[in-house]
Amino acid sequence: MSNIPDDLSYTKEHEWVAGLDDGLTVTVGVTAFAAEALGDVVYVQLPEVGANVQAGDSVGEVESTKSVSEIYAPLGGEVVEVNQAVVDKPDLVNTDPYGEGWMFRVRVEGDHEDLLSAEEYTALTSGDS
């Protein structure tokens, strides 16, 4: 079973969101489940810093040997930071999806009621596998 940390929130698109409870800025990445399903990640494209995104927007992409997936903004707001390390070393998505493999940070504006808890995400991924 993939690692699904309790203290993160999740989306149906297999992304994780950290820092939701602390206030304004959240960190976003893809889950270990997604990384395992993709295989070796070889290319990551991230949004521009300063971009204003709406929840559900496609803001980047992740390519592996066999497939390509879009990265969606889980929440609306302004992109305030992106992880250049994961662009330079895409395999960080495989080796440390919840740590060094993080993707971007968003200063949240507006609502965010559609995120899943770890428990709900676990249920979603066991249904998938």
């Binding site: 295989g39 070796d40 290319y43 390519e63 040997t65 066999k66 390509v68």
Partner: protein, 361 residues
């Protein structure tokens, strides 16, 4: 429901990611596909290829029947040797690419792709009707295990008395490996030295276990279909369904050399293929190396400016080159300023001749 191979339990115990491939449940990868790819280039990889089809053609006129049914000159093949060849429809369109082994004077084994072997067996049966030859599809009874990579011969030698050093590339001999009866063939689809072992399905698990033990000290690891695809792509080898299909002739694919017009008698496709012998096709199969990091994939348009000049047939990140690579059919007159349209953005490509990778012999 996909069909399992005799090695399914082993794949599951190794934690493989399994995928449907041409109706078979096959290992896509066991861990990292890039690590599996590198192991095959640098040491060895162990593959389950039991999805491939094995069709036997036997009888006094088996060779003549294959001469008529295929584009190659199989009756001229010496026993113990193998040939890469193709079967076409009457219009010259490729139905499958094949390896044919001559096991004895009156016995041939035709190895066909998983997606095609039912139709190949049917076509061979029809085409052999007027010959004293019997076509028997034994794909269900056979397993195929491949050991591929520069250390393959050392690994296999510890398990067999067969004379491997004198076994040539594209040759096969019957023998015993780890106590299991096998056809030992020096063939593969990776661009490396290696062996393919055709064994009874019931013997597959035992053989896999012995090979695993023998290969471990040499750095051999199990390898899935994902790395098999990047290995063959680097080696410039066509994949049926990508570079080859029924609407292309062997000449379209740049493989006209497999068509043997000088063999005796008629063969299916001769009339259609003969006029193409000296004509230049509109497009040719080339290699593309991406300057950027996005991956050109099957079906993406190749463009020069706003003109579409071709189409990608296969593409992947190349572990050996460290860049995305692709095979594509492009108009013969273009060579510069190529790009691939990747989801609406033009990614520049350099055109190269195939293969991308050639091993040091």
């Amino acid at each position: 429901m996909s069909r399992p191979t005799p090695l399914r339990d082993i794949h599951e115990s190794l934690g493989a990611t399994l995928t449907d491939f041409a109706g078979w449940l096959m290992p896509l990868r066991y861990g990292s596909e890039s690590a599996e790819h590198r192991a095959v280039r640098e040491a060895a990889g162990l593959f389950d290829l039991s999805h491939m089809g094995e069709i036997f053609v036997t009888g006094p006129q088996a060779g003549q029947a294959l001469d008529y049914a295929l584009v190659g000159h199989l009756s001229a093949l010496a026993p113990g040797r193998a040939r890469y060849t193709m079967i076409t429809n009457p219009a010259g369109g490729v139905l499958d690419d094949l390896i044919v082994y001559r096991l004895a004077d009156e016995e041939f084994m035709v190895v066909a792709n998983a997606s095609n072997y039912h139709s190949v067996a049917l076509a061979l049966t029809n085409r052999a009707k007027n010959f004293d030859a019997v076509v028997d599809d034994r794909s269900d009874q056979w397993a195929l295990i491949a050991v591929q990579g520069p250390r393959s011969q050392e690994i296999l030698s510890s398990l067999t008395d067969a004379d491997l050093p004198s076994l040539k590339y594209y040759a096969g001999l019957p023998g015993t490996v780890a106590g299991v009866s096998a056809l030992i063939a020096r063939t593969g689809y990776t661009g490396e030295d290696g062996f393919e072992l055709f064994v009874a399905g019931d013997d597959a698990e035992a053989l896999w276990g012995e090979l695993t033990k023998a290969g471990e000290p040499y750095g051999m690891i199990p390898a899935g279909l994902s790395c098999r695809d990047t290995l063959r792509l680097e080696a410039g080898m066509p994949l049926y369904g990508n570079e080859l299909n029924e609407s292309l002739t062997p000449f379209d694919a740049g493989l006209g050399r497999v068509v043997k017009f000088d063999k005796p008698g008629d063969f299916v496709g001769r009339a259609a293929l003969e006029p193409l012998r000296d004509s230049a096709p509109r497009r040719r199969l080339v290699g593309l190396v991406a300057r950027g990091r996005r991956i050109p994939r099957h079906g993406f348009p190749v463009v020069v400016g706003d003109q579409t000049v071709g189409e990608v047939t296969s593409g992947a990140p190349s572990p050996t080159l460290g860049k995305p690579i692709a095979m594509a059919y492009v108009d013969t007159e273009v060579s510069d300023g190529l790009a691939v349209d990747i989801r609406g953005s033009q990614e520049p490509m350099d055109l190269v001749e195939l293969p991308f990778y050639r091993r040091n012999k």
